[in-house]
Amino acid sequence: MGDMILPLEEEEDMKRRNTFSINDNVDLLVEILGRLDGRSLGVAACVCRLWSSVCRRDSVWEALCNRHVAGGGGGPGTRSVVAALGGYRRLYRLCVGPVLDRLAGGPGRAGWAPTREEAAHLSLSLSLSLFSIDCYERLGGPRQRPASLLFLCKPVNVS
């Protein structure tokens, strides 16, 4: 009866047992971060070393890329192909991300308004094609800079 006055250390111990730190549960962290969009994932990678290492996992980016394709991303072979070409993180950074950005920017420019599934499916296949070209250029050795994807870069205003 009455208040239990606990010594300070026990109080803190109880607090620690009751609080929950996401950094202790990496699997949960992976699940949550896997649901973010590309930009947020990039921001999350700047939080701390643990988060940064989680964000470097290809599975997180794979989930992100596949989320845009109805039906889950094109089969088991896709993963090995993408891994061979450079990984999902690079695929998103170089191709899928810019494609989605451009699509969001102007739907009517193509003269044809795609449905969401069409846009998603086509953007993935287009991204894979462009990605393979980029990988091929990188095979050319250090003297050849991969440049065929430059057109996807956003214009940098240095004025």
């Binding site: 090995s80 440049a147 065929s148 430059l150 940098v156």
Partner: protein, 594 residues
């Protein structure tokens, strides 16, 4: 953006006016043409027939009576020609604007119009006494200044801002007029070249060079005109047409320019993607496939196909690629290097791959047995901007190389033939027609290069890429303008002509399908230029800039109703092989055999 639109406006204006017919010797040119052509001494009735005549006539006294106008009854000093021309323009506008009763004055004073200079001045002073010439007239008659035809005297404006706005608008108008004049000069020069009048052509060339200084050659019509003036100069000042006066560089230079052209604009990417889509669909269900590329270059088309085959349902087939290309001069085997890279890519995505390179300096040197087509495999022939090099003059009765190449190609019974060609008619027999078409086509092309560039102007790399792409196009321009006969390789023909030709050779058209159209449209959304557009024409796709198609992609297959040629044409080896070929293959155990 407005300036870019203006390029096509200028050219459509021009094409609405047919090129001025060459004046027959008996008729007289207009006074503008006379002013352009420079003074002729009285008595020399013939046009300048060579260099020396033109020079001597220029050196003759400028105050002599103009010879050609005397025939019409007017006596004008050669030095006054420009002044008279300008005054006549102003007189025309003054008469148009003058109130009607003023013209029907009670006291009519008649002047003798044969003294044209004085007559015009007096008419002007009568009709518009308050109007003064708007600025300093060209001081000396030999100064090559173009009196601005739209430079009509403005009523005095009280507002400063209006003057400033009018000033900048005026400058723009002046530039536009200079540009229009430049285009007119180009047409006249081309016409002179067609007639063989090298003296006149040379004179006009000098005028064009001066006109170029008045136009902004950084963009738009000025830039294109610069390239065409350069090409015309090369043609006029060369000793013979067959000498290598075009900008022929080394093959490696050409590859670098090609690569930059690939990066700078979407035409080649569009071509590759459409061809790959057609090939992918045609290979459906086959376990052994063979692709023959008429111009391998860097092999940039094939990584995407390898990846798509790796991901196709049912697993990847065994892919063989035969790449045809020019022999490398300096001992390195460029074809083999490309093949190695493609093999490594194929190995990483687990596609069984074999490469064979066929080095041939011309496509008609290739014989079908060099390609080693195996019965039972699906064959795809891919030609990106290659077939037009095999054409000859339309009126030429001799068999053109295109016929033999199409013959053996059809003999291979290909499952799919993908043909990508420029959508232009640059193979007309008359030089002026070709020139006009080329001017319009390359203006649109340069427009599109600028359109894609503006969004990323600050990227220096992008600027370099654009400049290199322009050099790539410059080679084509020089070839079209300067070369004749067998040296002229850029004989572009429109899609309709290709359809007829390929149909005659025994090929049947395959519709490219809506999937290809959607993929092309999506590809275009990635390019920052807003003017690109894909159109579908009877199953073929064309990519263009602002509704002018510039490149077309079509797919064909062997017509089953046409009998294949007898087998000895395909497999005879009586022609000894003078072209080396290298083979690279990768098998599942990850070893590369040579």
């Amino acid at each position: 953006m407005e300036r870019r639109r203006r390029v096509s406006n200028i050219l459509s204006l021009l094409l609405a006016w047919p090129p001025p017919p060459p004046p027959p010797r008996s008729s007289l040119p207009t006074i503008w043409e006379r002013a352009e052509m420079g003074p002729y001494p009285f008595g020399s009735g013939t046009a300048a027939s060579g260099w020396t005549d033109a020079e001597s006539s220029q050196q003759s006294s400028a105050s002599e009576i103009d010879g050609l106008l005397v025939g019409a009854g007017y006596r004008v000093r050669s030095s006054d020609l420009r002044h008279v021309a300008q005054s006549l323009e102003r007189l025309e506008s003054a008469i148009g604007g003058a109130p009607a009763d003023h013209l029907a004055a009670a006291e009519a004073v008649h002047y003798n119009p044969s003294d044209l200079t004085a007559w015009v001045d007096s008419m002007l002073s009568e009709l518009a006494p308050s109007r003064r010439p708007p600025g300093p007239l060209p001081a000396s008659p030999t100064a090559e200044t173009w009196p601005d035809p739209t430079y009509f005297p403005l009523p005095p404006q009280p507002h400063q801002m209006a003057v400033v706005a009018a000033g900048s608008r005026q400058r723009e108008e002046e530039e536009e007029d200079s540009a229009i004049r430049l285009v007119h000069l180009l047409m006249s020069c081309a016409d002179a070249v067609q007639r063989g009048d090298s003296g006149l052509a040379g004179t006009i060339t000098d005028e064009m060079r001066i006109a170029l200084t008045r136009v902004n050659t950084g963009f738009g019509i000025g830039k294109v005109a610069g390239y065409f003036v350069d090409a015309l100069c090369r043609r006029i000042y060369s000793l013979s047409f067959s000498s290598s006066i075009s900008v022929a560089g080394s093959a490696s230079e050409y590859e670098i320019l090609y690569h930059h052209f690939y990066e700078a604009c979407p035409y080649l990417k569009f071509a590759h993607f459409m061809a790959n889509q057609a090939i992918l669909e045609a290979f459906d269900g086959y376990d052994r496939v063979h692709v023959i590329d008429f111009n391998l270059m860097d092999g940039l088309q094939w990584p995407a196909l390898i990846q798509a085959l790796a991901l196709r349902s049912g697993g990847p087939p065994f892919l063989r690629l035969t790449g045809i290309g020019p022999p490398s001069p300096d001992g390195r085997d460029a074809l083999r290097e490309v093949g190695l890279r493609l093999a490594e890519l194929a190995r990483s995505v687990r596609v069984r791959f074999a490469f064979r390179g066929v080095a041939a300096s011309r496509l008609d040197d290739v014989r079908p047995w060099m390609l080693q087509v195996v019965p039972g495999e699906a064959v795809a022939v891919n030609s990106v901007l290659q077939l037009h090099r095999l054409l000859r003059d339309p009126g030429d009765d001799a068999a053109a190389p295109i016929d033999s190449v199409l013959g053996w190609m059809v003999g291979l019974r290909p499952n799919i033939v993908t043909v990508v060609e420029q959508e232009a008619d640059h193979n007309k027999p008359a030089f002026l027609d070709r020139f006009t078409e080329a001017l319009f086509y390359y203006s649109t092309m340069f427009d599109s290069l600028e359109g894609g560039r503006c969004a990323a102007q600050q990227l220096q790399q992008q600027q370099q890429t654009t400049m290199a792409a322009e050099l790539y196009l410059q080679r084509e321009i020089c070839n079209i303008v300067c070369c004749e006969g067998a040296a002229r390789l850029e004989r572009h023909e429109p899609l309709a002509t290709w359809r007829a030709r390929l149909g005659r050779a025994g090929l049947k058209a395959v519709h490219l399908g809506s999937n290809a159209f959607k993929q092309a449209s999506m590809l275009l959304t990635l390019f920052s230029g807003e003017g690109y557009g894909v159109q579908e024409v009877d199953g073929c796709l064309t990519l263009g800039w602002h509704s002018r198609p510039l490149i077309s992609a079509s797919a064909w297959r062997a017509d089953d109703n046409v009998a294949p040629p007898p087998d000895n044409q395909l497999f005879s080896s009586s022609v000894t092989a003078s072209v080396p070929a290298s083979t690279i293959s990768s098998s599942d155990n990850n070893s590369i055999n040579f």
